[in-house]
């Protein structure tokens, strides 16, 4: 009798991770092909629930079970993009150019608009003309670094998804 199809996860590396969607916090196992050798780029072949987790015990929802489609996705951004004033399109640029541009814009705005004192002469040290948002889908450590980033720059208008 014919054998069943070969198991596609029989030669994978397993990495434990946590689903990035809702906040139930299901643990997932990411199966990658490639033995971590220098000349091999690992690729995700499958993601499924981690049975060790007391939360999901291996189960997942329709979104979590298809996380591979999220990670390996031709719509992912792979290059820094720039849209010039008045332009109707993106232009790919290098990282160095992107970082230089971002830093220059931040510094110029901060230099121009930073308030050391408010109208009553009280120290406020803020850049109210730059707002920043984010963090709800990133880790604690990134969020902590973001707090250093924004307080360093004096950004006070900072919000994340928890406000919505």
């Amino acid at each position: 009798m014919a054998a069943a199809r070969e198991l596609k996860i029989s030669r994978t590396t397993q990495t434990s991770s946590v689903c990035p969607y809702c906040a139930v916090g299901c643990s997932v196992v990411i199966h990658t092909l490639g033995d971590k050798a220098r000349n091999v780029q690992p690729t995700v072949v499958h993601i499924e629930g981690d049975p060790d987790s007391p939360i999901n015990r291996g189960t997942l929802c329709s979104k979590g079970i298809s996380l591979k489609e999220f990670v390996v996705n031709e719509r992912r951004l792979t290059k820094p993009l720039y849209r010039a004033p008045g332009s109707a399109e993106w232009k790919a640029i290098s990282w160095d150019e992107a970082i230089d541009k971002a830093a220059r814009r931040i510094k110029d705005t901060r230099d121009r608009t930073f308030q050391e004192k408010d109208g009553q002469g009280r120290t406020v040290n803020r850049t109210a003309s730059i707002a920043m948002i984010g963090g709800c889908t990133d880790t604690n450590e990134i969020n902590y670094l973001l707090s250093k980033f924004r307080f360093g720059l004096g950004i006070i208008s900072y919000e994340n998804q928890s406000r919505l």
């Binding site: 916090g25 987790s53 792979t78 920043m132 963090g135 004096g154 950004i155």
Partner: protein
């Protein structure tokens, strides 16, 4: 969540209201199904729609969106009048006995102290009566007419089943049936839990709504107990963690943002360190100085000294009454008052209220930096005219938008390590499985390279006020891409002299000898290593606490307020389900939410509150110490309780050119927006599987309304609000029942989110419709219960 996902299996009654876990948290919902199977728990669903959670419920009650406070107020009334509350618990663990000052009252929609010209309250009459030492007076008999218990009874006397029916639209019988089921958890050996989500938070009275839920749970003796609590099902993997790390009004660890009148650290600490209101109150926030100084020391390192207030002056400050929150800064952006905007993984054009306003605001910027996995509506806002023409026919052409945009490719979850905090407050560490695709980079590298480049420019060129920027510590082994393990160690905190990791926030000092990036996470990475990565399976209490799986803030405590789960002698209310008990010398079970070596009678169970007990009456909320039913900002009827003060008098409403509000005569139907199980937010429209499960945007219409309008399932309909429009096929269903409200028939229209003008599948953004009206305490927008009209196209 006060409790956690795994704990839901301990419940006897599960109230799902303002949430839809079967659809939006299906894996968390498994614990509801387990409680039903194993404990014969009753699942009670109250929702405008008969949804997939209702499909498996024991009781379903329809309601009008935005009337939850009336419903829960009705339950409070029901519990009090029928004596269904847990009396001993209420006396021991709440402020029911506290006596409120003379002069407190409520009349015609306003509490005492209302100032009509300022549009604000003078809250002095909402305070407790105090004795000479500043402690609140109490009446343990609960008979004093000015004690919280009696005031509460009087306040909710208006919330009869008939009144609830008249406001919410269910019948009085349906209400009473649900109320009886919910109140059956008021017996000492029963517990009931509440699962809610954005159906409760997205209102102009959301914090008061959750306060009502907390009051109900306190009356029923359900806080601090297995299978109890008030449990927010949070909607993003680390939305809890990002809340913990602060937003505009909070520093990490819920330390308040300094205000301009707090010139020095001492001023700040004086303003924000509460004093105990009872002699037996531990008042843990009395330690604020230790949390704050350790944070400042983490931020400013060697630049932080006792002499300079540990660098306190560097922290940006807001004016006393200023608000730099979402609604406010986008309003200022629209007025052209902001130059720059940075979005690290968020999509405000899609998820913020009033998309037309959002698009207008972004077009006024000089520059914007977006860090993302996919192109989003926000990154591509300048192309909205072309991509979403039907919905934004008058929006500016790209050629006339001067905003420079940088869209930087970031790693996704699988490509980076670090900790997510789930709804249960569990910090779970994940590992990176592969590198990011193409030239995409991990977020810490993108952020660090921009930050260090700005610093470099200041060092080279000089500029305005470089000190706060240059003094911020960034001394990581690889500053250009800090290791997140190194950052996690800093967040946990260490002793400066010995360089040893701290065991917990109990070791923090306010003399600069400890460093800690977020006091509530202290204990997550000790000398024993990374406790967030633990995978222990043990469950010694059998209550699903799993103390060795990951690490839970605070102090690895799994059930908050667990001391209240026991009586005055330290014995669990229900001997079968005791998370914490006193054995005569020590507390056994979960990490005690109490001083570890204190006897049961030594102090109040709610150690974080100055009262030492939980607050049924809360003077810290801006629109009143008791929750009151206020209509949504746009409502089909005037408030049946007080038509002249119809909606929350303190709700921030904006009045810009695109901030129009509609009236019932033009927009007769109540609209609600929500997620579907098939999609995640605005992400899975980029993903093949979600695109297949629900390819098309649609509008859910009650069958009776569809019949009135001659609309059949699949017909194209247009939904308009005063702000904008969406269009899609109608899903005609009996599952949204017409309601009878204040003598008239009210129809509700359901509109799922998830689509937009960028993606593998596309459709209208529902926030084209939603108003820029917010809750005054939390700043959440009113996405549930606004007005629309519907027409067949």
């Amino acid at each position: 969540m006060t409790n956690g996902w795994t704990d839901v299996a301990n419940a006897d009654v599960v109230l799902v209201m303002g949430g839809n876990p079967a659809e939006n948290h299906p894996v968390g919902f498994r614990f509801v199904m387990e409680a039903r199977r194993k404990r014969k728990a009753k699942l009670v669903v109250v929702d405008p729609r008969f949804n997939r959670t209702a499909a498996v419920a024991d009781s379903y009650t329809p309601m009008r969106s935005g009337t939850d406070i009336a419903f829960l107020g009705g339950i409070i009334h029901h519990a009090l009048t029928n004596k269904l509350y847990h009396e001993e618990y209420v006396k021991l663990h709440t402020n029911a006995a506290f006596v409120v000052k003379e002069g407190f009252g409520f009349e015609n929609g306003h509490f005492s102290g209302w100032d009509n010209t300022k549009g604000n309250y003078d809250r002095s009459s909402w305070q407790y009566e105090t004795d000479a030492s500043g402690y609140a007076r109490i009446d343990p008999t609960l008979e004093n007419p000015r004690c919280v218990f009696q005031l509460m009874k009087a306040h909710y006397a208006r919330y009869t089943p008939e009144a609830v029916s008249n406001i919410c639209g269910c019948t009085a019988e349906e209400f009473t049936k649900a109320a009886d089921l919910i109140c059956s958890s008021g017996k000492p050996d029963k517990t009931g839990t509440i699962l809610y989500a954005l159906g409760w938070t997205q209102h102009s009275h959301s914090v008061q709504l959750i306060h009502t839920a907390a009051m109900m749970q306190l009356l029923l003796g359900n806080i601090g107990r297995p299978g109890g609590g008030v449990n927010a099902q949070r909607g993003h993997a680390n939305i809890q963690g990002s809340t913990d790390m602060g937003s505009w009004n909070n520093l990490p660890g819920y330390l308040k943002i300094p205000r301009a009148n707090h010139a020095t650290l001492d001023d700040y600490l004086k303003a924000y360190t509460p004093k105990p209101l009872r002699p037996n109150s531990l008042n843990y926030w009395g330690n604020t100085s230790k949390f704050m100084v350790s944070l400042l020391k983490a931020y400013y390192g060697r630049h932080a000294s006792k002499e300079n207030g540990f660098g306190y002056g560097n922290i940006p400050k807001a004016g006393e009454t200023e608000n730099y929150g979402w609604g406010h800064f986008f309003d200022n952006m629209q007025k052209g008052q902001l130059e720059g905007f940075i979005s690290f993984g968020m999509n405000p054009v899609a998820n913020g209220p009033n998309t037309p306003k959002m698009l207008d605001a972004l077009s006024k910027l000089k520059w914007m930096v977006v860090v993302e996995n996919f192109e989003t509506e926000t990154a591509a806002f300048w192309n909205a005219r072309k991509l979403g023409e039907k919905f934004y026919p008058t929006y500016v052409e790209a050629s006339n938008i001067q905003t420079e945009v940088l869209l930087l490719p970031a790693a996704c979850f699988a490509e980076k390590d670090g900790a997510f905090v789930n709804s249960s407050r569990w910090l779970q560490w994940k590992k990176a499985a592969l590198p990011p695709p193409g030239d995409a980079k991990v977020d810490q590298e993108i952020m660090a390279r921009i930050f260090l480049k700005v610093r470099e420019l200041y060092e080279k060129e000089g500029g305005t006020a470089p000190k706060p920027l240059l003094e911020m510590t960034w001394d990581y082994a690889n500053p250009l891409s800090p290791s997140l393990e190194e950052v996690a160690r800093e967040v946990n905190g260490r002793d400066v002299a010995t360089n040893k990791q701290l065991n917990g926030f109990g070791e923090l000092k306010d003399d600069g000898s400890t460093v800690c990036g977020n006091w509530i996470y202290s204990g997550s990475w000790t000398e024993a290593g990374n406790l967030m990565a633990r995978r222990g399976q043990e469950d010694p209490t059998g209550l699903g606490l799993y103390p060795n799986w990951s690490w839970s803030w605070p102090a690895n405590r799994r059930i908050l307020y667990n001391r209240a789960g026991a009586d005055s002698t330290g014995k669990g209310w229900d001997p079968q389900r005791t998370p914490l008990r006193w054995d005569g010398t020590r507390w056994i079970g979960d990490t005690p939410d109490y001083k570890a070596d204190a006897k049961p009678e030594d102090m109040g169970a709610f150690i974080m509150l100055p009262e030492g007990v939980a607050k049924l009456f809360a003077a810290d909320l801006v629109e009143g110490p008791f929750p009151e039913h206020y209509e949504p900002v746009e409502s089909p009827v005037p408030n049946p309780l007080h038509p002249n003060v119809s909606h929350n008098p303190l709700a921030p409403i904006f009045h810009g050119p695109l901030d129009k509000l509609g009236e019932a005569k033009d927009y007769p139907y109540v609209a609600i927006t929500y997620r579907l199980t098939e999609h995640f937010h605005y992400w899975t429209k980029h993903v093949a599987s979600g695109s297949q499960l629900q390819t098309n945007f649609f509008v859910e219409l009650p069958e009776a309304l569809a019949n009135e309008k001659g609309i059949k399932g699949g017909d194209l309909v247009r939904v308009r609000s005063a702000r904008g429009m969406v269009e899609g096929p109608a899903l005609v269903t009996k599952r949204i029942r017409p309601l009878r409200v204040a003598g008239k028939t009210v129809y509700q229209v359901g509109i799922p989110i998830h689509w937009g003008f960028v993606g593998r599948v596309r459709g209208p953004l529902v926030n084209n419709l939603t108003p820029s009206a917010y809750d005054p305490n939390a700043g959440t927008p009113e996405y549930k219960g606004f007005l629309v009209n519907v027409e067949k196209v």
